[in-house]
């Protein structure tokens, strides 16, 4: 049985991942803003076989609440075998361009709040000399593109941070994993028209569980995004500027 902390547990990807862990009999501690939805998910995971399910209602951008949340998680779980940070929003790029406040808010929820939480959790895993810190990044963090570079900048920041965390934790028995999903059909992307590249949350969940088990450094999900992003990262600027991505 693994003891697992999940932040942003009401996101579609996190919920699907928790269901897979619950089916294996793991113990879970869930964190999200919406208390009623947390309660519904906790009950669901218990029926599905989770050894124990605790929860804590918190807005990830409420930095002052992080310490109390983490203390509650540690009290409930004891050791932390896996921590998944999955919260985030998809900001409207055009709104960000028109507003410094919108831009900074998007960076805070997708970037700095993640780093604040990862800092706390990373220190604990290093002290334990064990555990996996898994953070959901995005393919959008691999290269800035006109269509959503504010979101991309936050995710890119998290990517660099996790590279460093991985480097640091390598000396202990702990591991830092970044997960880079492509397009996923979730409530966050409800307004998009969906094509063949779109994955279901449970497809991503399967990949996350596997990547954590295998103690991977980085995974693109579904895996074909690795090749798409390899190409996108290597398109020369002169050509890239003429595209509309």
């Amino acid at each position: 049985m693994q003891k697992i902390l999940v932040i942003g547990a009401t996101s579609a990807i996190a919920e699907a991942t928790c269901r897979r862990w619950a089916a294996r009999g793991d113990a879970l501690f869930l964190v999200a803003r919406d208390a009623a939805r947390l309660e519904a998910i906790a009950a669901d995971l218990s029926v599905r076989g989770a050894a124990a399910v605790g929860s804590f209602a918190m807005d990830a951008t409420d930095f002052a609440a992080h310490a109390a949340m983490f203390a509650a998680a540690q009290a409930a779980l004891g050791r932390i075998d896996v921590a998944l940070i999955a919260h985030g929003t998809l900001p409207e790029q055009k709104a960000c361009e028109a507003s410094v406040e919108e831009t900074l808010a998007a960076i805070e929820v997708n970037g700095t709040s993640v780093i604040a939480l990862a800092t706390r959790i990373g220190a604990q895993l290093e002290a334990q000399n064990s555990g996996v810190l898994a953070v959901i990044g995005s393919v959008a963090g691999d290269r800035g593109r006109a269509s959503n570079y504010v979101y991309g900048a936050a995710k890119g920041m998290v990517d660099i941070f996790m590279q460093g965390m991985r480097h640091r934790l390598a000396k202990s028995g702990a591991q830092a994993l970044i997960i880079k999903p492509g397009f996923v059909d979730t409530p966050m992307t409800a307004s998009f028209s969906k094509g063949a590249l779109w994955a279901k949350p449970d497809d991503i969940a399967r990949g996350i569980v596997k990547a954590v088990d295998q103690r991977r450094d980085q995974v693109y999900l579904p895996g074909f995004w690795r090749f798409i992003m390899l190409v996108i990262r290597h398109i020369p600027q002169a050509i890239f500027k003429k595209t509309s991505l």
Binding site: A36, A40, A43, D44, V47, R48, A190
Partner: protein, 435 residues
């Protein structure tokens, strides 16, 4: 994306489809009418609402509570968008199964209630609604009612089998039953002529929990295979049934015209009838109950025009109507891979729970028909006449075309039911049979 029903017949799309994610969420304020849409396994138009709003319930798929009641029964509370397949996946390994299951496990709990689905054990266990302890009904006025046999019993009776028209079922509490293993003991008996079927069936119903027959409706004289089954007991001797989760095949695309025609159907049915068949065998549970779930999207095999399903029940004493119908079908040369004959007749403890429940003590016949325009319509008119004369009725979950008069004649309580229909809820089926 325009949603279809399982029969894939062309239909005008809904104006909008709204995905529900939380059972606590209120109903949307929209122009026009609402209709819940679960997993789209209804064959006809009872799950469609052209020009209106569909409430997609599959996003509400959380379990709420589970607890054994005694050695043989347990109670499960879950969102109405949970699939029976998801219940089986979670609970069969723990030794629990559905007390009643339809022929596909890819239906939602809400859909199973709204159509009061039945299974191969109707003669023992009644229909799905007989095992629903309670549910919450959310109405367009924002009210939420807990409905059970004792609390809001009139709303319970209207909503079980109520085709989603009385409001939205948000969650339900159903019973599960203990099974000793995930295997069944199955016996197969070939029969020729319906007299033989009735004799085998009478003996089998007294002896076996599950009983159903596949019929070759294209043969000159009706013939078929009678399949009886029982759960393998909990004495610890049962071998775990292998290959429970065989990888499902999938119809990869919709062919421009159907490969299923009179010639191929006749050939298939003959081969199916004569295939080597063990008289007794131990079968894994899933292929016995859900033979077609192994072929995902098999409905596409009927081609772009889709197909009709015709399922009727005729009351006890009027069984001669089955002979008449099979003769009419055989003469017409139209017919299906999937003709199923079964008798209904639940014990008193399991009387039909809904005002519009389909099952009726008697015999039910279910068939698929590709759409061949006038020819098919003429056959349906003939079959309708036989059903009406016998005092029978058709199954709304399968229907895309029954005349208003046949619906009215078959469902005596429709006026009473109509009083419980939510003023904001409607469906293509309802408008077709009522307006």
């Amino acid at each position: 994306m325009a949603l279809n029903s399982w029969g894939l017949r062309p239909n005008a799309p809904a104006a909008q489809e709204i995905v529900r994610r939380d059972r606590q969420a209120e109903l949307p304020q929209v122009e026009g009418t609402l209709l819940p849409f679960g997993n789209g396994r209804s064959y006809g138009d009872s799950c469609l609402n052209s020009g209106g709003t569909l409430l997609l319930t599959r996003g509400c798929d959380r379990f709420i509570d589970f607890a054994p009641i005694d050695e043989t029964r347990a109670r499960l509370v879950c969102d109405a968008g949970v699939l029976l397949a998801e219940i089986i996946e979670l609970f069969l390994p723990r030794g629990w199964f559905l007390p009643v299951t339809p022929g596909t496990r890819f239906v939602t709990v809400g859909g199973a209630i709204a159509n009061d689905v039945h299974g191969k054990n109707h003669h023992r266990a009644g229909s799905f609604g007989n095992h629903v302890r309670r549910f919450e009904l959310l109405r367009s006025d924002g009210s939420r009612r807990i409905c059970s046999a004792t609390e809001n019993a009139n709303w319970f009776a209207a909503t079980v089998g109520g085709l989603g028209l009385t409001g939205l079922i948000t969650w339900a509490e159903i019973e599960l039953r203990r099974v000793g293993s995930d295997a069944l003991d199955v016996s197969n008996t070939r029969f020729e002529g319906l007299d033989e079927f009735w004799a085998i069936n009478a003996a089998a119903e007294a002896q076996h929990e599950y009983a159903v027959a596949w019929i070759d409706c294209l043969a000159r004289r009706p013939r078929g295979i009678f399949m009886a089954g029982d759960h393998v007991g909990g004495d610890g001797t049962a071998e775990p049934a292998a290959s429970q989760a065989r990888r499902a095949l999938k119809a990869p695309f919709t062919p421009p015209f159907s490969p299923l025609n009179a010639l191929t159907l006749r050939a298939f049915n003959t081969a199916y009838y004569h295939r080597p068949l063990p008289a007794r065998a131990r079968s894994p549970l899933l292929p016995y109950f859900y033979p077609l779930d192994g072929i995902l999207e098999w409905n596409r095999l009927y081609g772009r025009r889709g197909f009709y399903q015709y399922q009727c029940v005729v009351p006890k004493g009027a069984e001669a109507a089955i002979d008449e119908m099979l003769a009419a079908i055989s003469t017409s040369g139209q017919g299906s891979l999937l003709a199923v004959l079964k008798t209904f007749g639940a014990p008193e403890a399991h009387t039909p729970p809904g005002l519009l429940s389909f099952p009726l003590a008697g015999a039910t016949l279910a068939l698929d028909f590709p759409d061949r325009d006038e020819e098919t319509e003429a056959l349906f008119a003939r079959l309708d006449a036989i059903v009406a004369a016998a005092g029978g009725r058709l199954y709304p979950a399968k229907d895309a075309r029954m005349p208003r008069s046949l619906f009215r004649a078959g469902y005596a309580k429709v006026e009473e039911f109509a009083r419980f229909v939510d003023p904001k809820f409607s469906s293509n089926f309802w408008r077709r049979v009522i307006d």
